[in-house]
Each structure stands twice: as structure tokens, then as C-alpha cells.
């Protein structure tokens, strides 16, 4: 076998191995998307009921709460960025990071100081590499977040917003995550989580012409709101974590699918080249033989003379 042909054969073998790996990763990601979507669906009843309850308190009483009151001049905000622990997901992480950076720039232009909180190793290493300050970060659960993880993330954020701004607390909380629109579309979006405007929550509810009853609060409207709002924030963060996980798996699936397709194309063109090289080798051998015989025939013909 000629050298050229051997090189092509070796490359085909290595691309075939890569293709097998990406194909396997694609299939794993596809099954995980389904699982993640199911988890999003499973968490929906809790979120809906909680939204209902918050709406009920919001409309049924005039209670004020630190989590719902807007600071007159917000000077410091917290941004929570949700990324994944692992890459190989196309532009998933860079899109989320880009959205967070745009948001940060916008908030800074408004004269606010920005504290960054990050979930996922990818986002953290991006910020660390650029030597930007990260207040707190979490990782290790982005593939399959549980409610306990959401609580862990929410706790310091709620604490920060309840603290006075002068003592290092924050006035607002923004969250940047990747929304799972469909299998093919995932968009990085940012939204303000706190302070919560109760009117907005009420509007979020589908208007079915439903009139909320006048609730009797046990023990009191303030206490109920006190207990409800942190849970509401946790549930929103949990939902964002789940959507982000589903989006990550969908992005991985897509990235791995195109990698598999590319590997297939590469194998095709490499086998064409290998065929051409083999053919060239054969042609060369034939012409060498033919040339050799001709030369031999000439030589014998000459000696006959």
C-alpha cells in the first residue's frame, strides 16, 4: 500500500471513531432533553398554585414587603447567570454569557453597581479568566437540578436583597437563563425577579375572567406574604434551572448532530480521495509494468539485430 493511501485510511478510521462518539452523545442528550422537559412539566403545578397564592395576597391585601417594594434610587443590583458545567453544547453558554454581559452593561449605564452570581462552571471560568468579581457561584448540578439546589442558590440572593444597601445588600435581582422554547429554539433571556411587582404577577395569570375570592389569612396577611415570597423566588429559580438544563441538553443534541453529520461528510470525501489514490497507484503500477515490458521488448529486439 502506498504512503498516500495509508494516510487516508488512518484518517478515515479516526473520523469514524469520532463519529461514533458524537452519535452516542447525541442520543444521550436526546433522552436527557425528554427527561428534563418532564421535570419542567412536573414542577408546573407547584409554580401555578404558588403564583395563584401570591396573586391572592397581592390583590387581597395592601401589605408591603421588602421583596415587593422598589427602592427609590436603586444603586446596586444582583445578576444571577445560569450556565452549564460542561461544554460541547454549541453556542449555549456563550449566548447566556453574552446576554448577561449586555444586561450588566445596561445596568451599569444606569449607574448601578452589579454583583454577579453564577451557576455552572462554564460561566464561572469565563468570568475568572477575565478576572471579574463573582460574589458567589455554584456548580455540579446543572444537568439535573433539584429543588434543594434551587433553595441553595436562592438563599444568599434573598438574604442580599433583604439587607440594607449600605450594608452590602442589593436593591434588585435580575436573572439570565436560557429559555426552552422548543427542541430547535432556545433563547437566552434576562428578567427582573425582584423586587416583584404584584401587578405583574397578577397579569401573568391567564385572564379567564376568574375573580379571586377574599381570602382569610392564617395567621395574617403579612406572615403569609413573608413565607410566600421567598418560596416564590425559589420556585422561579428552580424553573429557570430546569429550563436551562433542558436547553443545554437540546443544544448539546444539536451540536452533536451536526458534528456527526460533518464526520459523515468528511468520511465520504476522504474515501473518495482514498479511492483516487488507490486508483492512481494501480495506474502507476500498470504503466510501470507496461513501460518495463516495452523497454524489455525494445532491448530484445535490438539484440536480435
Amino acid at each position: 500500500m502506498g504512503a498516500q493511501l495509508r494516510v487516508y485510511k488512518r484518517r478515515i478510521r479516526s473520523v469514524t471513531a469520532t463519529k461514533k462518539i458524537t452519535k452516542a452523545m447525541e442520543m444521550i442528550a436526546a433522552s436527557r432533553v425528554v427527561k428534563a422537559q418532564r421535570k419542567v412539566a412536573a414542577s408546573t403545578p407547584y409554580a401555578t398554585e404558588l403564583t395563584r397564592a401570591v396573586t391572592a395576597v397581592g390583590t387581597g391585601s395592601n401589605t408591603k414587603h421588602p421583596l415587593t417594594t422598589e427602592a427609590e434610587t436603586p444603586t446596586r443590583t444582583a445578576v444571577l447567570l445560569l450556565t452549564s458545567d460542561r461544554g460541547l453544547a454549541g453556542a449555549f453558554n456563550s449566548n447566556a454569557i453574552k446576554a448577561a454581559e449586555q444586561l450588566t452593561a445596561r445596568l451599569e449605564a444606569e449607574g448601578k453597581e452589579v454583583d454577579t452570581y453564577i451557576v455552572g462552571r462554564r460561566g464561572l471560568s469565563h468570568y475568572n479568566f477575565r478576572e471579574r468579581k463573582v460574589v458567589e457561584s455554584w456548580s455540579g448540578f446543572t444537568d439535573e437540578p433539584t429543588y434543594a439546589d434551587a433553595k441553595k442558590v436562592a438563599a444568599p440572593l434573598i438574604e442580599a436583597i433583604e439587607k440594607e444597601t449600605a450594608e452590602g445588600g442589593v436593591d434588585e435581582l435580575h436573572i439570565v437563563y436560557t429559555e426552552f422554547v422548543s427542541m430547535m429554539t432556545q433563547t437566552a433571556i434576562d428578567g427582573r425577579l425582584l423586587p416583584l411587582s404584584l401587578e405583574e404577577v397578577a397579569e401573568e395569570k391567564p385572564a379567564k375572567g376568574e375573580i379571586l375570592p377574599l381570602y382569610d389569612f392564617e395567621p395574617s396577611a403579612e406572615d403569609v406574604l413573608d413565607a410566600l415570597l421567598p418560596r416564590y423566588v425559589e420556585s422561579r429559580i428552580y424553573n429557570a434551572l430546569l429550563q436551562s438544563a433542558a436547553s443545554k441538553h437540546a443544544a448539546t443534541r444539536r451540536a452533536m448532530k451536526s458534528a456527526t453529520d460533518n464526520a459523515g461528510d468528511l468520511i465520504n470525501s476522504l474515501s473518495r480521495l482514498a479511492n483516487a489514490a488507490r486508483q492512481a497507484e494501480i495506474t502507476q503500477e500498470i504503466s510501470e509494468i507496461v513501460g518495463g515490458t516495452a523497454a524489455l521488448a525494445d532491448a530484445t529486439a535490438g539484440s536480435d539485430k
Partner: protein, 124 residues
């Protein structure tokens, strides 16, 4: 047929139980409360404790609930809990072990959680 109320018991990550009931007893921060059909609209904060649901077919469902809310309106009752377990889902031996461990580590909240689980099983 006696009046019924529709109960949804949901935990943060799943829906635990739903069905028709005639009476639901839950523990709020200001004491046990029993809800029957036609009760005034109510929104309360739950304590860790067992929730007893008397179903319309005469059976009883007991669940251990750790923190959450009860809301009732229009004969629809929702129990929202961060963690909720039905009594027949609870592994008694595991709960007992958890209780002992919590006692030895003097972890009051873990001890209460394990205790609530065991009480829910005992009430079954």
C-alpha cells in the same frame, strides 16, 4: 351525596396526590385546622406536620408535609409543600435511622422532619 372538596397536594417537583375529599386536617403556624366543603376562602402557612385527608370513599390519606401553604377557595383545596410524602411512601426504617442520627447530631430541624414522617406512618 355529601359535599366534596377537590384536593391537590403538590410538592415542588411533582404532584403528590389529588382527588376528592370530605375533610382535610393540616397544621398551620397557628394550630391545626380542619377544612370541610364550604369553608371560607383560606390561605395559611403550614408547619411541618402530618396532613390527614379523609377521601370521599371513606378512606384516609396521610402525608408528611414539611413547610408550605394551604389555600382553599371554591371547594378547591391546594396544599403546597416543598417536600411532601404520602405515608405509604415513607420508609419507616430509614426515617427511624434519620431520627437517631438527627438526635445524635442535635440537628433539631432534621429531628422534627424525621419525627413528622414517623407520626404520619403511625396515623395511617
Amino acid at each position: 351525596m355529601a359535599a366534596e372538596l377537590h384536593v391537590e397536594l403538590v410538592a415542588a417537583d411533582r404532584s403528590v396526590w389529588s382527588g376528592e375529599a370530605t375533610l382535610v386536617v393540616a397544621r398551620t403556624t397557628s394550630g391545626d385546622i380542619g377544612v370541610m366543603p364550604g369553608h371560607q376562602p383560606l390561605l395559611g402557612v403550614l408547619e411541618s406536620g402530618p396532613v390527614t385527608i379523609r377521601t370521599s370513599d371513606g378512606g384516609t390519606v396521610v402525608a408528611a408535609v414539611h413547610g408550605g401553604f394551604i389555600s382553599f377557595a371554591d371547594d378547591k383545596l391546594s396544599l403546597l409543600a416543598e417536600i411532601a410524602e404520602l405515608s405509604d411512601e415513607i420508609d419507616v426504617q430509614r426515617a427511624e435511622r434519620a431520627l437517631e442520627r438527627a438526635k445524635s447530631e442535635a440537628d433539631a430541624s432534621a429531628e422534627r422532619r424525621a419525627d413528622v414522617r414517623l407520626r404520619a406512618v403511625a396515623a395511617r
